[in-house]
Symmetry: C2
Subunit: 135 residues, 2 copies
């Protein structure tokens, strides 16, 4: 949904729209404007968009769509690590339980890294282009 929202803002800008309102975006994503405002709020925290209030308010990209990668979007939206360790701390009296977390942490880090690197290959502009090109 975040990728969709950003692509829509970019399309709107290319059509001459100064800013995009959460209601317009919600109409395309088919959800509630509040959901969009929450979502874009996180992206604003990551420095990807800015919002204007008052009359004629709305949202705008802070950087060219070509330079915003899905890795940044992903990181902004899915803040916490994707790979969680055990909910309860394992049995420290067992050799495995004692060392399992420090054994898995680097593996998880590498996995997140690989994921991020792959997502970095696609930009919001790419998403928009492929969306428009779809049959």
């Amino acid at each position: 949904m975040a990728a969709h929202a950003l692509a829509w803002i970019e399309l709107n800008a290319r059509r001459g729209g100064e800013v995009a309102t959460s209601e317009q975006i919600a109409n395309s994503v088919n959800t509630n404007p509040v959901v969009i405002r929450r979502l874009l709020g996180e992206l604003r925290g990551a420095g990807l968009v800015e919002s204007r209030r008052g009359a004629g308010a709305g949202w705008r990209l802070l950087r060219p769509a070509e330079s915003i990668s899905l890795a940044e979007v992903y990181r902004a939206v899915e803040g916490d690590p994707q790979f969680a360790l055990h909910p309860a701390t394992p049995n420290q009296k067992c050799p495995v339980g004692q060392g399992i977390r420090s054994a898995l942490t680097p593996v998880y880090d590498a996995a997140e890294q690989a994921l991020s690197a792959e997502l970095a290959r696609t930009s919001v502009a790419d998403v928009l282009r492929e969306s428009i090109a779809a049959p």
Copy 2:
């Protein structure tokens, strides 16, 4: 937890244990035996372990720990795709909404692929070794 359980089964085997019971594994993972049985049930479905019932029952790896990668474990446990598309189908009357899903699907597939490739670099035997080696 799945990686932990498999590593424990392997450690137990190296110590001469024929099979590992869900209660023993649960003791190391610090959870309930039923949770372990459910978990290993999925891994059995993926052909990674087998279970024996009756007296003296328990679990055993079906393949050498060196040949079981975390990618297989991950796939067995986290069956469905990690990247979900929109919960509600987007507005088909909008160019972005109409094409966004077919634009994102290949990106998601590539991301899952990158993730899997990274996890494939680590085996259950690696996890056990690193766990035991931990300070």
